[in-house]
Structure formats: structure tokens, C-alpha cells
């Protein structure tokens, strides 16, 4: 069987051996933002539950979400969700088989990074 050497064979290089690249960094950032947004989602669910419960409960939840710390969390959440949205569009484009060349993929990475900041600033101005 071809399996005799199992466990003692050369492995292909893994993450630690590669120099950080724009494509890999923007990819891991998609995962980090997506999972970190759980905190925002739970805070918003808490806010809705408090609003549906009583004015007192609402005052507590609303107080936390609109405190300076709440504002900080919400601004970071905006940055995260706009980034994740743009990165998601990038994945939908890649799924069609286009823009996969290194140059174009890196350009999409820059669009995600810069675009998320621009959209966050625009959202803060509009809302």
C-alpha cells in the first residue's frame, strides 16, 4: 500500500513559512470581522429585547450602546461590516472565475480596505 510512510512524510509548507501578503491578510481579516460581528449582533438583540420589555430595561441597554464605549464598538462594527460586505462581494466575483490574477486580486484587496473606511465615514455622516 502507498500508506506505509503515513505520518513520516514531507508536508507542504503551511501558514508560518509564508511572508504576509495583501491577499492572505485581507482574507484573514474577512474571517476576523465576520466572527467579531457576533458581539455587535448580540448587543443589538439585547437592545431590541430591552425595548420590547420595559422603558427601564431599555434605558440600561440604550445607555450602554450610546455611551462612549458603545459608540466605539458601533463605529468599529461599521468598519467591520462594511469590510466584510466588500470582501463578500469580492468572493462573489471570484466565484464567477474572474479577477483571480494576482494584480487584480490585490487591487480588489485595496478596494476592500479603502472602501470600508470610506463607507464607514459616509455612514457616520449620513446617520
Amino acid at each position: 500500500m502507498a500508506d506505509v510512510n503515513r505520518g513520516n512524510r514531507p508536508l507542504s509548507p503551511h501558514i508560518s513559512i509564508y511572508r504576509p501578503q495583501l491577499t492572505s491578510m485581507t482574507s484573514i481579516l474577512t474571517r476576523i470581522t465576520g466572527n467579531a460581528l457576533l458581539i455587535t449582533a448580540l448587543l443589538i438583540v439585547w437592545w431590541f429585547l430591552a425595548a420590547a420589555t420595559s422603558p427601564d430595561a431599555f434605558a440600561t441597554a440604550n445607555g450602554v450602546l450610546t455611551s462612549w464605549f458603545g459608540d466605539l464598538v458601533m463605529v468599529l462594527s461599521l468598519l467591520g461590516i462594511w469590510y466584510h460586505t466588500l470582501a463578500g462581494i469580492r468572493h462573489l466575483i471570484w466565484d464567477t472565475g474572474s479577477m483571480l490574477e494576482i494584480g487584480k486580486a490585490e487591487m480588489l484587496g485595496w478596494i476592500c480596505l479603502v472602501g470600508s473606511v470610506v463607507l464607514t465615514v459616509l455612514t457616520i455622516i449620513i446617520v
Partner: protein, 123 residues
């Protein structure tokens, strides 16, 4: 002589299993969220920080309430699916199964609480 076709012998032995279905469900929810997230940001954003009575009246209107409920439903499904992929990458063995189970429990619980609260505000 075996009465099994070659295909029958090979089926289920690959590594992908239900991976295609999972990927497709993530694509579906991501496209739905592409519309829902901007709608939610610009309906929820302006009312955050308003007094209680105003918030109750605001979510008594159909549009903000339906957008918020849909965003929570699709959003938490999308989160559970994405978080599952992350767990499958970094956690192994029994811990993997338990973590995925907990993530799905948390996602559906939060989704249910959110939709219940919005329904109560809206009705």
C-alpha cells in the same frame, strides 16, 4: 460478480461530503445580506439613541420591523455557517462537534430572541 456499479462503490468516499451545499447556502445568504445590511444600517442607525416611546413607534411601522427581523434571521444563519467553517479549520475531534453545536444553539437562540422582541414591538 458484484452487482454494484463503480459509482456506487465510490460514492461518499470523497472529502467534500456536504461541502457544496454548505458553500451554496453561504452564497445565498451573502447575496441576501448584500441587500439587507445596507437597509438595516440606514433604518436602525438613525433610531439608535432615540427615546423609548419613539423607538416603539418606529418599529411599529412595517418596513423597519421587517428589515430588522429579516436581517437577524439571515444574518445569524450566515454567522453560524461561517463560524462553523472557522471551527472546522482550527478545532479537531469531539471539541469540534461540541463547539459547532454550541455556535448553532447560540445563533438560533439569539435569532429567536431578536425576532420575538421585534414582533412584540411591531404588534
Amino acid at each position: 460478480m458484484r452487482y454494484l456499479t463503480d459509482r456506487k462503490l465510490a460514492e461518499g468516499l470523497g472529502s467534500a461530503k456536504s461541502g457544496v451545499k454548505h458553500h451554496w447556502s453561504m452564497i445565498l445568504s451573502s447575496v441576501a445580506l448584500l441587500g439587507l445590511i445596507p437597509l438595516f444600517i440606514f433604518t436602525f442607525g438613525p433610531i439608535l439613541g432615540a427615546p423609548h416611546a419613539e423607538v416603539v413607534a418606529y418599529f411599529g411601522r412595517p418596513f423597519p420591523a421587517i428589515v430588522a427581523a429579516l436581517t437577524l434571521i439571515v444574518g445569524f444563519r450566515h454567522f453560524a455557517g461561517g463560524c462553523q467553517v472557522m471551527i472546522e479549520d482550527y478545532v479537531h475531534g469531539l471539541a469540534r462537534k461540541v463547539t459547532i453545536l454550541l455556535v448553532y444553539c447560540l445563533s438560533y437562540a439569539a435569532m429567536a430572541v431578536g425576532v420575538f422582541a421585534i414582533a412584540r414591538l411591531a404588534l
